[in-house]
Structures are given as C-alpha cells and as structure tokens.
C-alpha cells in the first residue's frame, strides 16, 4: 500500500543513516509484507495491499469516526435528553447486507488466490524438504543431489563464515539451498520427528512439515537474490534456530552449482552447498535491486 511505504520512508528519514535495501529479509522499519520475489508472493501483496488494507482501514476508521461523533454529539452536556429509539429495521438490514457485500468482494479474489497458490500444474523440478530437530534436510531428486543438512550458523561463527559483516544473525545456514529462477518448482515437505513449518516470506510459501505426511507447495522465483525464512511451527528448545537460506540464481548458474555439488571437489568439503555457492560467488546476487540489473543477468 502506497501510504505504508511513505510512512516507512518517513521513519527512515528519522534515522541518520539509510540502510541499503536488500530483498528477501526482514527490514527493521517496514510496515508491510516482505517484498515479493515470486508471482505467488506478488499476488499476496497485491491482495493485501490493494484490497484488504483499504477495506480494513476504512472499516476501522468508520467505527472510530462514529464513536467520535457519538462522544461529541451525544454526551450528557450536549444532549441531556436521550432518545428512546430501540429499533430501525431498514438500518439493521443495511448493516447486515453491506458487510455481506464487502465479504463477497473479498471472497472472490481470495478464492482465486487460494487456488493459484495451491500447486503448480506442471512443475519443472522438485525440491524435497524434511524438517528435523533442529534443521532442514534437502534433496533434489531431478538433479540427483542426495540428502544434505542445513543447520544454522551460530553467532560465534557468523563473522568468520560470512565475510564483510554481511552475515544475517539467526538466518544463515552452513549449507544453503540454491534454486533456479524462472522455473515452476514443486516443493515437497515432510518431517522426521515433530512438526515444523517450511517458510520463505519473500516467496509467499509456508507449508507445515508433518511426520508421516508429504505436503506439496510450489514457487516460481522471479528474480535472483538471497532469501531467508524460519521454522514456523513450535518444535522444541531450538525452534528459533532453524532458519532457511535460499539463493535464487539464473538457470545456467544453477546447473553449474549442481555439477559442483556432484563433483569430488564439492563433496570433499565440509559444507558442499556452501562451497559451491562461494565458488560461483552467488553472494553477488544479494544486492541486486534495480530492474536493469536483473534484466542484464537474464
């Protein structure tokens, strides 16, 4: 919503130093949803900012204004003689019917969005995700990359592990995952012990990881970048310490990464996924912002 961004800018103007904007992570002053990095999220943002926010703001303000009018006009000084009205059938019909109409206005795009988000009809590749206490196991069946674990990078090791102070506390994993941009990716989610929930806000994806069930969701990453998420179902002592760290990169680079992952060079390292990400310097996509830059990559 426009005014949200304006407010957010005002808040930023208060601070001495404006932070460079990176996609895919929470911003300290933002008042709205995370920036979309997929059509899934883009539609969610549109639904929320362009429809729901207007409606709920209008309703809240309407009630507030009525209360203010009531307080000013009908306090005991302004209006010592109370009326005795107790019924007004047309009015009661109006305030029953108008909310129904508003709800229908919400429901129609809501259902479209729901069915759109449900699954990709013809996915081009699959990512398998399995939650455990406390981390995520990933595998790429189409690329024949076997299970590997992604645990969070501790505070002590963060500065060494991710140079230049670019490390994101509680969001980085030793082994990240890498996904190609511009493809419909099916994501299958399960768990091996208790419930977890696999979430990446910038993708508009959240799916519970349930032992004994295989849940399906999907994403189409629209621009390269680094995206973060966190486990979203309480899972025990280290629930706050099982983040999700995803690089979205163009397809050819994704293929290079896959080759690296399967090569001896990659497999001999402690963290193959991280090694291969660093080998091709995917971190350069973190700061990709403008449309031109994105266009020049693709």
């Amino acid at each position: 919503m426009k005014y949200l961004h304006l407010l957010s800018l005002n808040l930023l103007a208060l601070v001495t130093l404006a932070a460079p904007a990176l996609a895919g992570e929470p911003k300290p002053t933002s008042l709205g949803l995370q920036e979309a990095a997929s059509p899934n999220k883009a539609r969610l943002v549109e639904f929320h900012d362009d429809l729901l926010m207007w409606i709920i703001t209008a309703i809240s303000l309407f009630v507030l204004i009525l209360l203010v009018i009531v307080a000013l006009r009908f306090n005991e000084k302004a209006n010592p003689e109370p009326s005795t009205t107790t019924h007004n059938v047309p009015l009661e019909i109006v305030w029953t019917v108008i909310p129904i109409i508003i709800l229908i206005i919400i429901a129609v795009p809501s259902f479209k969005l729901l069915y759109y988000l449900d699954r990709a009809p013809n996915p081009e590749m699959t990512l398998k995700v399995s939650g455990y206490q406390w981390g995520w196991t990933y595998s790429y069946p189409d690329q024949e990359i076997e299970d590997y674990n992604a645990d969070y990078v501790t505070d002590e090791e963060l500065a060494d592990f991710i140079p230049d102070g670019q490390g994101r506390r509680l969001l980085e994993t030793y082994n990240p995952i890498v996904l190609p941009t511009g493809k419909d990716i099916q994501i299958l989610v399960t768990a091996s012990d208790v419930l977890h929930s696999w979430t990446v806000p910038a993708f508009g994806v959240k799916k519970d990881a349930v032992p004994g069930r295989l849940n399906e969701t999907w994403v189409h990453i629209s621009k390269p970048g680094k995206y973060f998420g966190q486990c979203s179902e309480i899972c025990g002592i280290r629930h706050a310490y099982m983040p999700i760290s995803v690089y979205g990169v163009p397809e050819d680079e994704f293929n290079q990464w896959v080759e690296c992952m399967k090569s001896d060079e990659g497999q001999d390292t402690d963290y193959p996924a991280r090694f291969c990400v660093q080998k091709f310097d995917f971190d350069r996509y973190r700061t990709i912002e403008s449309e031109e830059e994105i266009a020049s990559i693709e």
Binding site: N75, T85, P211
Partner: protein, 564 residues
C-alpha cells in the same frame, strides 16, 4: 427490564440483620452461595492474572533485545508461552467472566435466589484450584511443558516431552474442563428453569443471553478437548498411537480435535464480554439497547458458526484446497453477526445522553479495539493470505486485540460497573480513569507494532529473533531510547525496532496493573458506600440487580419478583 420488586425489596431490608451467614471457614471454603462463589472466582481470576501477566512481562523483557537475556534457553521460553496462554485462557478470562460475573449476576438478573445446583457450583470452583496448582507445578517438573497452549503432538508426546510435565498439564486441563462443563450445566439449568415469572427468553437481559450461549458452547466443545487430551495421555503412557504416524496415527487428527474445541473456546471468552458491554453501553447512554433481538440472535449465530470454522487455524497443515475454500467462506461469515453487534452498540449510544464513567470508557475502548482485532481477523480468514501470516506475530497481534484488548477490557469494564454492587463500596473515579488510559496506551503500544513484525514474517513462539546485537551501551532497558531507536532503524535487517517498542508498551501495561491493584484496595477499604442503583439507571436499563441493596443480601428474592 423493569420489575415489580416492591415486595421483596422491603423483605430484604427486614433481613439485613439476620442473613444466616455461616462462619468464615464454612462461608468461603464450603460455599454454596452464588455471590460468594462468584467472589471467589473473581479473586482467583485476579491472582491468576498476576501470574499469567508475570510471564508476559518476562517475555517482553526477553524480546526487548535480540540474544538471550532472561530465558536460559528456548525450552524455558516455551514453558513461559505455554503457561501464559493456558493461564490466561483457563484461569483468568473464563473464571473471571463466566465464574465471576456469571455467578454473581445471572441469578440476580433473572430474579432467582441462587444457582440451580449450589453444591455443583461449589465443586466447579474448587476443581479450578488444583487445576491451577497442577499447571504451575508442571513448569517445575523436568523440562516443563513447552508445547504452546495448543499442545500439538508429536512435540507434546514422549518424543518431545519425555518427562511428567505434559502429563501434569493434561490433568490440569482435565480438571479445568470438568469445572467448566459442570458450571455450564448449572447455568443452562438455572437460566431455563429459574427465571422470574414474566421474564420470557425474549425479555432476558443480554448478559444472561450471552451466558446461555456460552454455556452451550462449553457443554459441546470442552468434552472434545477432554477426549483429545485423554488420547494424548494414552499415547504418552499406555502405548496407543492415535497421533503417532509410526503406529498408523495422525498428528493432524489432534489439531482437528483441538480446534473443534479451540475455536468455540475463543467465543466462550468473548460472548460474556459482549453481554457486559451491552449493559454498560445502555446504562451510560440512558437508552435501552438498540436492536435487542438482533443482539441476542447475533450471539446465537456467532456461537453456531463458531463450531464450523475450526480448520482456519490449520490452513498450512496440508488440507485439501477445497476444504480451505470452505473454511475461508465460513470464517468470513462470522464478520456479519459481529458487525451487527458493533453497529448496534454504536446505535445504542446514538441519540443517548452519555456519561463517560470508567466502565463506559472500558466499554468504548472495547468496541473500537475489538473492531481492530476483528478486521485483522477478516485478513487472516483468507486461506491464501494466511500462507504469509500463519504463525507470525500478525496472528499474535490479532488475537491479543480481540482477547487481551477485548475480553480483558470487558473484565475491567464489568469490574468497575459492578464493584459497587458486589462490595457496597464505589471505586475512586480518578484511579479508574487513570487505569483505563494507562492501559489503553500501554496495550496499543504493545500490540500494534506486532502487526508489522508479522507482516515482515516474524514467527511466533521465538525466544530470539534475527537482528544484529546492539553495541554494549545500547543494550537493555536503560539505554537512551532515542539513540537506541535510531540505531535499530538504521540496521539493514531484523525485527529489533518493533520488538523494542512493543516491550516499552509492555512495561506501561505492567505499570497499569499496579494502578488497578491500588484502585481495588482503595475501593474495598475506603470506597464510598453506595445505594441500590448508584448508576441512576433509567427504567429500561434497570435490570433486576439494581433493585436489590449493594451489596445484595446474603439471600435475595425470598419472594420472586415479577417482571412486566
């Protein structure tokens, strides 16, 4: 609801010196008097609120800065959030609204001498005490129950919690549940059978309507919780596998059972609040409630629809898309009867002659903040939208707006409205208003920024959140707030800023509790004595409790009043 109470009124006066009150122990520990049991419930609710509120203060203090400050680890944190949730739901809001105000005012309002089953009423209260002790004790046994109030398996199964703590929490819920079911049966019987002659269902005060609907919800919903946690108990201890996938069970089954109880439960907490607010708004507007029948049947509709929307708490568990579409539609419908109530309250005030006393301030605060919590509920009702917001702080903000700023505001509204009736002494108006304004500012500062955290994606139930650790001189509560806010806002990422502001609101809210306690003791020891109808109700809003003395005689309505 005007009543012809001349006869019983003089009769009450005659009894003033001979109330047949039992001695202290028998009166308070073996009580069968609805007013004494109501008083016990209210005292219990306030004490439990102090414990539950203490956990809130710990949580806000922990989240004021990133990193671990107070909690030793995530498990301790999980124990806090579990205890906070269960205490506030089962031992604060329910005992306060239903046990406290329900017991006190349902018999008075319908012209009954007492509840239908006085001794059942006694055991309803006394089951709560061991339930509360069991729950508190569970925090100190083994690792404590760190499952969240939803106690989802497998985390709550022996896989996640091998010790005895979860078993104790389950027994605590069994006892609290039994207490609620017995109390509800008592209310239904009382309301259906003991109304004064002439008081038809359609002449019943709205608070009694609210309690009637609430009681039905309790009787239908709580046994389902009882069943679910009993199955969990046998999974944990007797080798069954209702919820264990390795034995052919399903963890999602528990969620369906839990929320079949859990969703009506949130209406169990809010419907009595609706009733109280209706009375207060009418009294202080000097107007009868607008659209009485619409108000009553809106509550019936909310109660009914409350049973068919439970899976909107489970949009991300992997439900079929058509199921999600149904639950989206059903959930949106709740906005209609709720809207009727909001607009009817405003219409009651419209044309009125309003006095802004403390209870009226709480009631108006309730109407507005409940609206804010309601509209975020409309956002969350959409299964698609919920993909981004489920289990984030947006949900936390939403349900605290409707419950903490809704049900709890109604608790305070009812307390200030009726404390003169219950104690015979009036609260100090200045302290009451101060309490309202400090709370109002505190809770909004506390919960409104949580919407922003949730929209950015901050998950619930997190002991620590992504954000850079601030430099030494900006850590803690006593850092320069301006410099600290500038520093937090200048960071590239993280949830620090709004968490810090939220914690500031938490501190203000904590302070407001001190004002409340001072007001309570002031009232009880130095409050002005009041007459029967100290709010000067107009005849149309003068329900039967305003026809008896303040406090009412130990036994009221020896001769049944007649309602015209």
């Amino acid at each position: 609801m005007s009543a012809d109470t001349t006869a019983d009124h003089t009769d009450d006066k005659g009894h003033d010196h001979d109330d047949h009150k039992p001695g202290f122990f028998v009166r308070w520990f073996c009580s069968t008097n609805h007013k004494d049991i109501g008083t016990l419930y209210i005292i219990f609710s306030i004490l439990a609120a102090l414990v539950g509120g203490y956990f809130s203060m710990l949580m806000r203090a922990e989240l004021a800065d990133p990193g671990l400050q107070i909690a030793a680890d995530g498990q301790e944190w999980n124990v806090w959030i579990t205890a906070h949730g269960l205490i506030m739901v089962f031992f604060v809001v329910m005992p306060g609204l239903i046990g406290g105000f329900g017991n006190w005012f349902v018999p008075l309002m319908i012209g009954a001498p007492d509840m239908a089953f006085p001794r059942l009423n006694n055991i309803s209260f006394w089951l709560l005490v061991p339930a509360f002790l069991l729950l508190c004790a569970s925090a100190f046994v083994g690792t404590g129950a760190g499952t969240g109030w939803t106690i989802y398996p497998p985390l709550s199964d022996t896989l996640g919690h091998p010790g005895m703590s979860v078993d104790m929490a389950i027994f605590a819920l069994h006892l609290a549940g039994a207490s609620s079911i017995l109390g509800a049966a008592n209310f239904i019987t009382t309301i259906f059978n003991m109304r004064a002659p002439g008081m038809t269902l359609h002449k019943m005060p709205l608070f009694v309507w609210a309690m009637l609907v609430t009681a039905f919800l309790l009787v239908l919903a709580v046994p389902v919780l009882g069943g679910a946690i009993t199955m969990l108990l046998t999974d944990r201890n007797f080798g069954t596998s209702f919820f264990r996938p390795e034995g052919g069970g399903d963890p999602i089954l528990f969620q369906h059972l839990f929320w079949f109880f859990g969703h009506p439960e949130v209406y169990i907490m809010i419907l009595p609040a609706f009733g109280i607010v209706s009375h207060i708004v009418a009294t202080f507007s000097k107007k009868p409630v607008f659209g009485y029948l619409g108000m009553a049947y809106a509550m019936v509709a909310i109660g009914f629809v409350g049973f068919i929307v439970w899976a909107h708490h489970m949009y991300t568990v992997g439900l079929d898309v058509n199921t999600k579409a149904y639950f989206t539609a059903a959930t949106l419908i709740i906005a209609v009867p709720t809207g009727i109530k909001i607009f009817s309250w405003i219409a009651t005030m419209w044309g009125g002659s309003i006095r802004f006393t403390t209870p009226m301030l709480w009631a108006i605060g309730f109407i507005f903040l409940f609206t804010v919590g309601g509209v975020t509920g409309v956002v969350l009702a959409n299964a698609g939208m919920d993909t981004s917001l489920h289990d984030t702080y947006y949900v936390v903000a939403h349900f605290h707006y409707v419950l903490s700023l809704g049900a709890v505001f109604a608790l305070f509204a009812g307390f200030y409205y009726w404390i003169g009736k219950m104690s015979g002494r009036q609260y100090p108006e200045f302290l009451g208003k101060l309490h309202f304004w400090v709370t109002f500012i505190g809770v909004n500062l506390l919960f409104f920024p949580q919407h922003f955290l949730g929209l950015q994606g901050m998950p619930r139930r997190y002991v620590d959140y992504p954000a850079p650790i601030p430099p030494e001189h900006l850590q803690g509560w006593f850092a320069d707030p301006i410099e600290k806010i500038q520093w937090m806002a200048a960071q590239e990422y993280g949830y620090h800023l709004y968490n810090y502001i939220s914690s500031m609101g938490g501190a203000i809210t904590g302070f407001s509790v001190v004002i409340f306690l001072v007001a309570v003791f002031w009232t009880l020891f130095a409050g002005k004595r009041v007459g029967d109808d100290y709010w000067d109700n107009i005849p149309a809003t003068k329900t039967l409790e305003w026809h008896v003395s303040s406090p009412p005689p130990f036994h009221q309505f020896d001769i049944q009043p007649a309602v015209k």
